[in-house]
């Protein structure tokens, strides 16, 4: 699972008011190279929740992104875009778990696929 998807997923267990962002428990991280496309990144930059992305990338062991939300002018810098690209699209959480921030319910991730199925009493 890429951090792009992590940045979108929230826990939708019944009764949870703020299920975003999901915490990450890491067992295995892999990297897969993806074609670099600045247009897509610029589009995503405005949509991404920066803090969630930074926290997630740190928990996967990638600490190159700046802590606070960068100015929108930074988007023109190639160096920044490369880092953003790497964090958003190339880092994969292969094995581990996602944890709901409120209920601490664990969603296991195996072979890169998070199991987001809810039990009947959580719907």
């Amino acid at each position: 699972m890429r951090l792009l998807t992590h940045n979108m997923l929230s826990s939708n267990i019944k009764g949870v008011t703020n299920g975003f962002p999901l915490l990450i428990e890491v067992e295995k991280v892999i990297e897969k190279p993806v074609d670099f496309n600045p247009d897509f990144l610029k589009n995503m930059f405005v949509k991404v929740d920066w803090k969630a992305l930074v926290d997630a990338s740190r928990s996967l062991g990638y600490a190159e992104l700046p802590e606070e939300t960068p100015e929108s002018s930074v988007i023109d810098s190639d160096d920044f875009l490369r880092k953003f690209h790497h964090a958003l699209l190339e880092l994969h959480l292969e094995e581990g778990a996602l944890v709901c921030p409120e209920t601490e319910r664990k969603f296991p991730v195996s072979k890169g696929i998070p199991n987001m199925l809810l039990h009947e009493d959580e719907v």
């Binding site: 699972m1 890429r2 792009l4 998807t5 940045n7 979108m8 997923l9 929230s10 826990s11 939708n12 299920g19 975003f20 496309n37 247009d39 897509f40 589009n43 995503m44 949509k47 929740d49 699209l89 072979k111 890169g112 696929i113 998070p114 199991n115 987001m116 199925l117 809810l118 009947e120 719907v123």
Partner: protein, 291 residues
């Protein structure tokens, strides 16, 4: 018809390892899926500027439809309820991210993030009640509600569906409308029993663009008529039935319309099964001044 997989078993059980393998090793199915997703992507009408979009593939299965999205350069996230199908998707090295998820439980994605959604032959599964806790109406509501939230304004969702009956199509459509979507059904090859395909084309947007909707329909017709002229297959016709959310009922305050309004309301109450007094000549008549 017993050949419908929906009638055999719930999706996560029907698509076991054997069935998933069968599904994805058949070149015929692969071809059909590719065609369907190609058409769905066309109906999505994404702006033609070469910028990759973030799309959602609902019921992505083994990633056959996702392949079409990747070929067109888009990033996608796929979700499916069958682990066996997702395993095959991994084998096929699907480029999108995969999630094991039940769409009837709601999508649980952040609002406004997704630029478009497609779904090939999946939504009709929601109409089944496979477990005692399943209530198709609620599951459809959860699905369409959460989809509406996660789509960006003006984004489209295109679902290719095989509704079993008229009632089922009606159920799916009305759930979508209730969630706030505008849109309609596009039927390809309506006269052919085999190649007839239905697409549900939904637009997510603020009510203000409702006025522009007829235009959107025209666009559809244009693209469809293009198809007609370019396609050389026989009896290829495309018709569109457009659906809008009903306008807010206007209050009839004009003189003389009061009685009609009252009668209408009484009729509504009667249909709900409430005890309503009979309609007489006194109904909705003004009292005399000396009363």
């Amino acid at each position: 018809m017993s050949s419908r997989p929906e009638l055999k078993a719930p999706p996560e059980i029907f698509y076991d390892d054997v069935e998933a393998r069968k599904y994805t090793s058949s070149s015929r199915i692969i071809e059909i899926q590719a065609k369907l997703s190609e058409r769905a992507l066309e109906l999505l009408a994404l702006p033609d500027d070469g910028v990759p979009r973030l799309l959602l593939d609902i019921g992505c299965g083994s990633g056959l439809s996702g392949e079409t999205l990747s070929e067109n350069g888009h990033q996608w996230i796929g979700l499916d309820i069958s682990p066996s199908m997702l395993d095959i998707a991994l084998e096929r090295e699907a480029e999108g991210d995969l999630l094991l998820k039940d769409m009837g439980q709601g999508l649980g994605l952040r609002s406004g993030m997704i630029d478009g959604a497609i779904s090939i032959s999946a939504v009709q599964w929601l109409c089944n009640a496979d477990k005692s806790s399943h209530e198709p109406r609620l599951r459809l509501k959860a699905f369409f509600g959460s989809l509406y939230r996660c789509l960006a304004r003006g984004a489209r969702a295109v679902f290719q569906v095989y509704p079993e009956s008229l009632a089922q199509r009606e159920l799916i459509l009305s759930s979508a409308m209730r969630a706030g979507f505008a849109g309609g059904v596009v039927v390809d090859y309506p006269h052919s029993s085999k190649s007839r395909k239905e697409y549900l084309v939904l637009t997510c947007g603020p009510p203000s663009i409702n006025t522009e909707l007829p235009k959107a329909k025209l666009e559809d017709e244009e693209s469809c008529s293009d198809d007609e002229s370019s396609g050389d297959e026989e009896n290829q016709t495309v018709c569109i039935s457009d659906r809008h959310r009903p306008r807010k009922k206007q209050k009839t305050t004009k003189k003389g319309k009061v009685r009609d309004w009252v009668l209408k309301k009484k009729e509504q109450m009667r249909r709900k099964g409430n005890a309503v007094p009979l309609d007489t000549k006194y109904t909705a008549r003004k009292r005399k001044a000396r009363f």
